[in-house]
Symmetry: C2
Subunit: 333 residues, 2 copies
């Protein structure tokens, strides 16, 4: 960022937002002064932002200094925000479920493919390791054992010798952790082979070697839609000690046109209860703790199942989510 | 946001950034098209953003639709970021230690005062509870028991009957948790009475009632600079089983002119080692895991103390930090 040009632009263009000379250098500076005393300065440059960071900071120091002179030190608050990087090969912005802007320390696109079901990205974060992002939603990072532990009942369950059904779970995290606990049999039903392909290659801290084969001594992975599988099991009378729904977060929308989503959710819950032993447990994620309306609506669905159930919930900090997450345990009355 | 005006502005002003008609309504739309195919649309409105959110979304839907038509569906990537709110009474942006932009769910300014030492803010976050922010740095939220537990040795220590010295710790979290464990005596040395005043009123989930009095059965709080206190204790030969440094994070800057900060840090470490029993432990926070240079420099300081020490570190997820944090345990060889 050419320092002189930018200052010129800022100091002379008050209120005008057309940057004349700067255009050639792909730099913009917008200065807006609002009547009640708010002054906004936006700088935009088209180049390697890390290279220009120091220059930008020096420029903003000068603007701040000059403003303080002009207003005789009568400035209540000054705030400088980190630059937003747009249009690069790496996208660092993956808003939270409750719609807040958060920047991740992404430094590499590891995997980016469209499957018949969704867009699958695996991005590398310096602190969280590889992160699986499905259709724009942060699903799980290699740092997120807390998620897997929470959706398995937070270490309070004994999986040894048990029959377990996992719905979804394509990252392999739940399967990997349960297999360690010597269950009788774990069946995982994941619709998207490409999620498994990506994760077994790039999320090994999460799934270990458990996805290398779709069959092991005490587990099998079915690449299928879970609905017909659940229907089949219900018909056959097959029962499980644990059903773990790792399909999707509770829908955020609460509008009537989204009714089908809730119906779908209730269908899965009903079918799951049908294949759950009387003393079995059903685990699932809810959503961000701030989405209270969506969570309430989910809890209302629980009172509309074919059989009476009770539930408890737990709030967990999943490192890569940058928001607190609600997990549910549901059991038959 | 007046929908029609904004669209007019967007569709007709390509490359020009002077919003004519919109000015009156305090709305701006900037559209920039870069030669290699990047199109940036910035919308800015001066009003209650939550009110305008749906209108803005509809407007952007239309822009997106029209762009797709114009480019015959030949658009590789579309990304919409949440609006940034600036200049309001509530500031939701508190960048991480490694300089990333993160938006908090702040909905209330609970406390905002300047002490002789720093600016003290306590802001309410919907999910994290009240957050203590000292001179712009997120210090601790009511959700952050994980921080307190980590800086106390992650539950692996036995504090019963022990002598403990806390440096800083004005939020009262460490004091509150240790007092529960029946120590012989805890001495906390906090320089800023106003931090204590704010926290005892607004961070009660963190400090309980422990700050209501500066003296209890097994603890005392000294409102003093810790350096002279440490010097006094060292001279008197007073020794502690645990010294917990909760003063500040490891300095981020690694430039030579910041040498005095490192010297200050080494002085505290040296003095702390002088009052630490031979089999005692010193706990402190490091910094964000991504600041590897700063952490390495800190570890180098540890080899320059008056006595040989060893250390271990632990990486912890502190909910309100939105980044992984490093904690150190240091002991005499």
């Amino acid at each position: 960022m050419p320092l002189k040009l930018s200052i010129y632009c800022l100091v002379t263009s008050r209120g005008r937002t057309e940057p004349t000379n700067c255009w050639k250098k792909n730099c913009f500076a917008n200065l807006r002064i609002y009547p009640h005393g708010l002054v906004l300065v936006d700088l935009q440059s088209y180049n390697d932002q890390t290279k220009g960071k120091e220059e930008t900071d020096r420029l903003l120091d000068k603007v701040e200094e000059r403003m303080k002179e002009l207003f005789h030190g009568n400035i209540k608050r000054v705030k400088r925000l980190p630059a937003i990087l747009r249009g690069g090969a790496i996208d660092r912005y993956w808003p939270t479920a409750d719609g807040r802007l958060v920047e991740y320390d992404i430094d590499e696109v590891v995997y980016d493919e469209d499957s018949p079901f969704q867009n699958i990205k695996i991005l590398h974060s310096k602190q969280f390791g590889n992160i699986l992002i499905l259709s724009g939603d942060v699903n799980l990072a290699e740092s997120d054992l807390a998620y897997t532990q929470a959706i398995m009942g937070s270490g309070k369950e004994n999986y040894a010798g048990k029959e377990v059904l996992i719905l979804g779970g394509g990252d392999g995290g739940i399967l990997y952790e349960i297999v360690k606990l010597k269950p009788k049999m774990v069946t995982m039903v994941e619709i998207d082979q490409m999620v498994i392909d990506g994760c077994k290659k790039y999320m090994r801290k999460t799934c270990g070697d458990v996805l290398d084969n779709l069959k092991g001594e005490c587990y099998q992975v079915l690449i299928e839609d879970c609905i017909p599988v659940l229907k089949r099991y219900a018909k056959e009378g097959r029962m499980f000690d644990y059903v773990i729904n790792d399909l999707t977060a509770v829908p955020i929308s609460t509008s009537p046109e989204e009714d089908s989503t809730w119906e779908f959710l209730r269908l899965i819950l009903d079918l799951s209860m049908k294949v759950l032993k009387q003393d079995g447990k059903y685990f699932t994620q809810g959503n961000c703790i701030n989405l209270t309306d969506a969570l309430t609506l989910y809890e209302e669905q629980l009172s509309r199942l074919y059989c009476p159930v009770e539930f408890s919930k737990e709030i967990v900090c999943v490192p890569s989510y940058m928001e607190l997450w609600v997990f549910y345990t549901i059991w038959k009355k």
